[in-house]
């Protein structure tokens, strides 16, 4: 009996054979096309602890998984022994609406949780692109975010407490269930975005927000490159309660118009912004915004459009999908998505540079940016995704890298065909703090078994 067969037998006795997948059943759990030897679906924390102890004992590599909506992130693994899914841990353990906090198991479905909270007029202020399967544990482990981060921040601004299971099968916790806490080191921050390389997140406590009484989305057409910077600056300094400010180039706008089936302008850029408040308040904000733009000395006047409530919803959900690489989780990506962090002021020049580079290659790249946060997603289409022209794509990426460097930004290749990823450092080069990161990884996972080789610098 091979080691892995031995592990399978031992795991089956822990979780029951129905919760251990082998052979053909593992296909949908492949990571970048690498099939796992087995998939285990524990139903409680003690099973997770036992699974991790067994994995250590059998020297197996472990790949934590939530709903699988973002497994495309990170470097391609060389070998996948065991996928550990937390999708069966989906209880809401505590919810006291008056405290604006909730405690849930890591496998709680993100969308279902939002529905529960919505029933009490509240929400978890994260809006990453998700699927029905996306779990809260996955959202935190990948630190994905969406347009609302402009007002509400990211996972680091809402996570209050966390419990994890480390490779030795020990459960530890950090933080608490209260909204303000400096009791002990802030390990919440360490687990957020650690891509499952330190421990398995099993329980999360989050701060909640009241749902805004209303929202209004405005699309603002910007016809010329020269007008982009003054428009952005003006909008950001107006007294508005903006929760989102997205910038799309014409290519992105065109895709959005098609996918969301919405009439959108054909200007060089489109800003899509959303204000919140009661209907009277959102109306007066929209007026103020329109007024301010009218008084700006622009080379060409800005156009402002609004949409019906149904259209607004479709617009925002489609927009999120653009930043995730539109095709489904199982399909070969039909575009490369590069997430770029830069100073907000560098955004207009960056957009211009990127578009010029794309034009040079006789292609068009779409840009969707959280303009108020300096985060831009550049999507490079991949013709013939099943057999991509790797050399060509690498040349594109190299050109894009140049744009990022010129704007003193940083980039992460969020999604790309495996053959491309294998020739890139998807997270970019580590900084002078990598010393500490490597030591932290070693301290949590000395045998390097948790999601090995997938994160920054091979963490």
């Amino acid at each position: 009996m091979s080691t892995l067969e031995g592990l399978a037998t031992a795991l089956a006795s822990v979780v029951g054979s129905a919760h251990l997948l082998t052979n053909d059943a593992v296909a949908q759990y492949a990571i970048d096309g690498v099939l796992p030897a087995m998939v285990v679906l524990p139903t409680d924390e003690s099973q997770i602890a036992a699974v991790l102890r067994l994995a250590s004992e059998y020297q197996a590599t472990v790949f934590p998984r939530g709903g699988g909506s973002h497994t495309f992130m990170g470097q391609t693994p060389s070998r996948v022994d065991l996928v550990l899914s937390v999708q069966h841990l989906q209880r809401q353990l505590a919810y006291e609406p008056a405290d604006l906090t909730t405690t849930v198991q890591a496998g709680v479905r993100f969308c279902e949780l939002q529905r529960t909270l919505g029933g009490h007029g509240q929400f978890l202020a994260l809006d990453p692109p998700v699927t029905a399967a996306t779990t809260l544990g996955g959202v935190v482990a990948t630190n994905v975010s969406g347009p609302r981060r402009f007002l509400y921040g990211t996972a680091r601004d809402v996570l209050l407490g966390v419990a994890v299971m480390t490779m030795d099968g020990k459960r530890t916790k950090a933080g608490g269930r209260v909204v303000k806490n400096v009791t002990g080191y802030d390990l919440n921050k360490l687990y957020i975005g650690s891509l499952g390389t330190l421990a398995i997140i099993v329980e999360l406590t989050c701060k909640l927000h009241p749902l805004p009484p209303g929202e209004l989305t405005l699309g603002i057409g910007c016809a010329s490159q020269a007008d982009l910077a003054p428009m952005l600056q003006t909008i950001l300094q107006l007294p508005l309660r903006l929760n989102s400010l997205e910038l799309l180039n014409a290519t992105a706008c065109e895709t959005l118009a098609v996918h969301a089936d919405l009439p959108l302008g054909e200007t060089a850029y489109t800003l899509i912004t959303r204000v919140e408040g009661t209907p009277a308040v959102t109306q007066s904000q929209a007026q103020r915004l329109t007024e301010a733009l009218r008084h700006l000395p622009l080379t060409r006047p800005a156009s402002v459009h609004t949409w019906s409530a149904v259209e607004q919803e479709r617009l925002w959900s489609t927009l999120g999908e653009l930043t995730r690489g539109a095709s489904g989780p199982d399909a070969a990506p039909d575009c490369i998505v590069v997430k770029v962090s830069l100073l907000m002021s560098a955004l207009p020049a960056f957009c211009q540079d990127v578009q010029e580079n794309a034009a040079h290659f006789d292609t068009a790249w779409s840009i969707v940016a959280h303009a108020g946060s300096g985060i831009a997603y550049v999507c490079i289409p991949v013709p013939n995704p099943e057999a991509p022209d790797v050399e060509r794509l690498l040349a594109y990426l190299q050109a894009l890298e140049g744009c990022v460097t010129r704007c003193q930004g940083r980039r992460v290749i969020a999604r790309a065909p495996v053959a491309v990823k294998q020739q890139c450092q998807v997270w970019g080069p580590p900084g002078d703090d990598f010393v500490l990161m490597r030591a932290i990884k070693a301290s949590f996972d000395p045998q390097h078994r948790l999601n090995p080789g997938r994160f920054l610098g091979g963490l």
């Binding site: 916790k173 209260v178 909204v179 009791t183 360490l190 650690s194 703090d433 301290s443």
Partner: protein
Amino acid sequence: MEKHILQELAGIAAPMPVLSAPEEMLVYECDGHTLDKAPPSAVVFPSTTEQVVAIVKLANKYGLPFVARGAGTGLSGGALALDGGIVIEMCRMNKILEIDYVNQRAVVQPGLVNLHLSLAVADAGYYYAPDPSSQGSCTIGGNVAENSGGPHTLKYGVTTNHVLGLEVVLSDGAVVHFGGPTLDTPGYDLTGLFVGSEGTFGIVTQVTVRLLCKPQAWKTVLAFFPSVDAASSAVSGIIGAGIIPGALEMMDNLAIQAVEGAIQAGLPLEAGALVLIELDGIADGMEEDAARIAAICQQHGCQGIRIAKDEAERALLWKGRKEAFGAVGRLSPNYYTHDGVIPRTRLPEALRRLQQISATYGLRIANVFHAGDGNLHPLVLYDERDPEEVKRVLQAGEAILRTCVDLGGVLSGEHGIGLEKKNCMPWLFTDDDLEIMYRLRQIFNPQQLCNPGKVIPLRGRCRCGAVTAEDTVTPAVQEAVAAALEGAHVHT
């Protein structure tokens, strides 16, 4: 301290003198937490990152512990130099290095006084949001170490939500950079891990912070209630209605009397509690929200409401809150400030139990606190000249913290654990939880020279007899970490 070490220190920090005379050490023997005292062996005032590096390397050479200190306003003994360590006083590094309004950021040195940053950017319409009550004297570096809060953190978050990047001198003198001016830096969020590490992970020498546009409008409301219970239910009612004010503060009767005695703001002395509510943000809709708040207060038995008509009146309403701690000082020679947090819905119960504790130990307790986020500040009044009373103060303090933990809360909301509460950590955390924290500290601070003896209770030092972490780190882990650090040193 040996003379030649003092001379070496003086050489590093010249022309600033190095202090070491016993009488000079008195100022540095404690911070705002005055119950524990420990004189340092020397105090040195660096002016640059390079000098901090040189001091840290010198301390390593002689195996001397050291601690960075800002304004010394901390309330948990975090800036105490235990074991005769060196105090590295950061007040000379107080410059604003860069202000970038377009990107709403500033880069500052750690010794900069919190309020001075907001004042420097005020004319341009910006401010730095975390506003501890000591903001007129506390430093940004100290705020980073303690992850400080303040009244407006209910809506705007604490220090960690406003720090984007750090330059840090590690315990061996290496300089590293966490985060940066841009967001979502790939890799582990060491900025987030470092903020709130209470000076035990290294010394911060540069901070990149977020600046916010000043709110367009404010509405400050003061509401009086017959009892703390009524006031608490009004607080819950406001939050439950979906209104998150910029600040939501409460004072009980004893605190009201102290404040009124000190500043004569016209507060009703018979009120059981007052709630200070501040809406801020855009002007649109603010009147409506204020009216809703007033109605909610009325529903919960409010006896009177005052709404600030102008900036001067707003300042007056806030003056009472910001100076409440000082005002309580009029009631007794000393007071001990606690900082427990409870879920907001448990406020009435918590305050009832505080009254019982007050009666049990025969000590007066005034409450001035951040009601919106359940962060209590019971001030236990005493006289330090009465050793019997001091003993009861410590017992009452323990009972207060136990109450917070019992009600699902934590030991500290914004003052930190430091020396003061480290022995209570096992009430909340298991040995395994503490071991992970200890391991992280070992990575940043392997020789434990950088602010030793804080945050985590260690075997042999633990008054409550808890089993603790340091010997339980397995050899395999120690080796792996050592290898990672070793490899890294070659790498740099």
